[in-house]
Amino acid sequence: MRPPSAPIDAADAAPHAAHAGERAAYARLVRRRVLIVAGLGALMVMALLFDIATGPSNLPLAEVVSGLVNPAGLDAPSRVIIWEVRLPTALMAVLVGTALALAGAEMQTILNNPLASPFTLGVSSAASFGAALALVLGVSLPLLPADWNLPAFAFLFALGSVLMLQAMANLRGTGVETLVLFGIALVFTFNALVALVQYVASQEALQQLVFWSMGSLSRASWGKLGVLALVTAAVVPFSLAAAWRMTALRLGEDRARSFGISVKRLRFFSLLRVSLLAATSVAFVGTIGFIGLVAPHIARLLVGEDHRFFLPASMLAGAVIMSLASVGSKLIVPGALLPVGIVTALIGVPFFMVLIFSRRERM
């Protein structure tokens, strides 16, 4: 029904030189971003290989590469080290980094809050509480193998916490600020509940719980890896399909709605994706707080907030940091494997600082 739209500038029917210039500039910008994302991908592959090569018995990178391409060419001990021990852990690091970073990036956008992440809004605390119940009270779910019981509990509680956020979001008149406050309230509630469980726990259970909550990749197995890979692979296409809508949401909620976007729907499905990603990751590796918060910030500094680039860059940045943290967890104390949750911040903060300061100089 819209009136025939004459070209806005009738005098300039022919393609304008200034327009061509702007178009070329935008094409260059897009190309640069694609290159940055590709660069992060290459960095991730290198970090992954480095992670596999690092450990009590160091393997040369060349051997790692040839061992991955052609496992039959390896001697038996190296094959076990690479394929049974190092590869599941290293891939877990990459996948967890990817999943947590994507969850954080989506949360920061839909809640319009740069401090939002699965960790700051209670998902990890809820998972810890689930894990605490399973460990300390010895509750178990039927039909599950023993070593899946704890992840299952952590998952259910993490999922539950995001669904509670979700329910809040659907209450009429609830703004995003309220939602963020509610998430913070969840953090304190679940932390208090965990402390309560710890207080009544036996010495042994307490130790296990503390270790679990530090976050560790050593519990990785091909089975758990498969589950996380499946969840991530199922979620990512939907995230990318929502990229333009999330970009528009950055311009403000009213603005986005007046472009025809149902923000409520967008938020609902995004939180659903976040809950799956965060709950699955935290269930398998424990509390890892830093990635979901900082990887999106790194991506934002590198490629801006066009979500077609911002989301992939966040995922890859998360994977790189997590992978390097895994390397660090093996190198910092020689001969010992530190819980990776301790190392992520130590590895990530300097990386982040360098970016922030280099950015400021350019502006």
Partner: protein, 270 residues
């Protein structure tokens, strides 16, 4: 075909407080600019948001087209449309501008076209061409590569206007689009909006604080007071010392300047 917007018995209620109270307006016609003025908390923004489908409202908002023969052709009841279809006819430019956004002016304008499903028929190239045309028309083509965060308040307002115009709506709703602009840019934006309304015969409803500006550029003035229409008509009819005393609580003179445009000289608050 000239579009007409008819508002009948429109009410918006927050909690128990009615913000817009059973408001009815004679049809707003395309081709001209209608100003929405009134004191603080009169319900101007709420009315605009209700017309944009952003707040739940009771009553009827119909968009029809008057052709050369038929009176009103296929009126659309806007209040019943889902937001995705609503946004094909109506675009709202909010007063609040986004903060800390890592997007360039061009990207933001592009996202106004690429994010809505109903607009996916546009190719990237077409969308880019349309975005550049609008930026040029607003005189901010040179800002297209700049980040929104690097802009001044006024430049950001122009960028926001570009995001609305690029959607080529039939009904353009602007909430104080000139509040952060210097005089030069205020004039440019008002002239441009008036030109666009005429050229494409679209409906423009604009919330303004500056009454003289409203009188100069708008063919029709609607004065709101506590959710009700206090005056409605061409500037000479709507803007009177009596209205200013009643609605704005000021003692003021309304006098034409040497070029015939109405000027409001406020003497004191009453």
């Amino acid at each position: 075909m000239v579009p007409h917007l008819t508002i009948e018995g429109l009410s918006v209620v927050y909690g128990k407080r009615p913000i817009i109270d059973n408001l009815t307006l004679p049809p707003v016609a395309g081709g001209g600019v209608t100003a929405l003025i009134g004191p603080n908390a009169a319900g101007k923004t709420t009315l605009l948001r209700a017309l944009a489908g952003l707040v739940p409202a009771r009553g009827s908002v119909r968009l029809g087209h008057i052709g050369p023969t038929a009176p009103i052709v296929h009126p659309i009841e806007l209040t019943r449309l889902p937001i995705s279809q609503h946004a094909r006819h109506v675009t709202y430019m909010p007063q609040a501008l986004p903060q800390r956004v890592a997007l360039t002016v061009f990207e933001a304008t592009l996202s106004a076209l690429m994010s809505a499903r109903s607009d996916r028929v546009l190719s990237q190239t077409q969308a880019q061409a349309r975005a550049l045309e609008v930026l040029e028309r607003l005189g901010i083509l040179d800002l297209s590569r700049r980040g929104l965060d690097e802009l001044s308040g006024g430049q950001r307002q122009l960028a926001s206007l570009a995001q609305s115009l690029v959607r080529e709506p039939t009904v353009l709703l602007l909430d104080e689009p000139t509040s952060a602009l210097d005089i030069h840019h205020q004039m440019r934006v008002m002239q441009l909006v008036a030109e666009l309304a005429r050229e494409r015969s679209i409906i423009v409803v604009i919330v303004l604080h500056d009454i003289a500006q409203a009188a100069r550029y708008c063919q029709r003035i609607v004065v709101l007071e506590q959710g009700l229409v206090a005056a409605d008509g061409p500037p000479e009819q709507a803007i009177t010392p009596e209205m200013l005393a009643r609605v704005y609580k000021v003692e003021a003179r309304v006098e034409p300047c040497s070029q015939g445009f109405l000027q409001v000289i406020v003497d004191r608050a009453v």
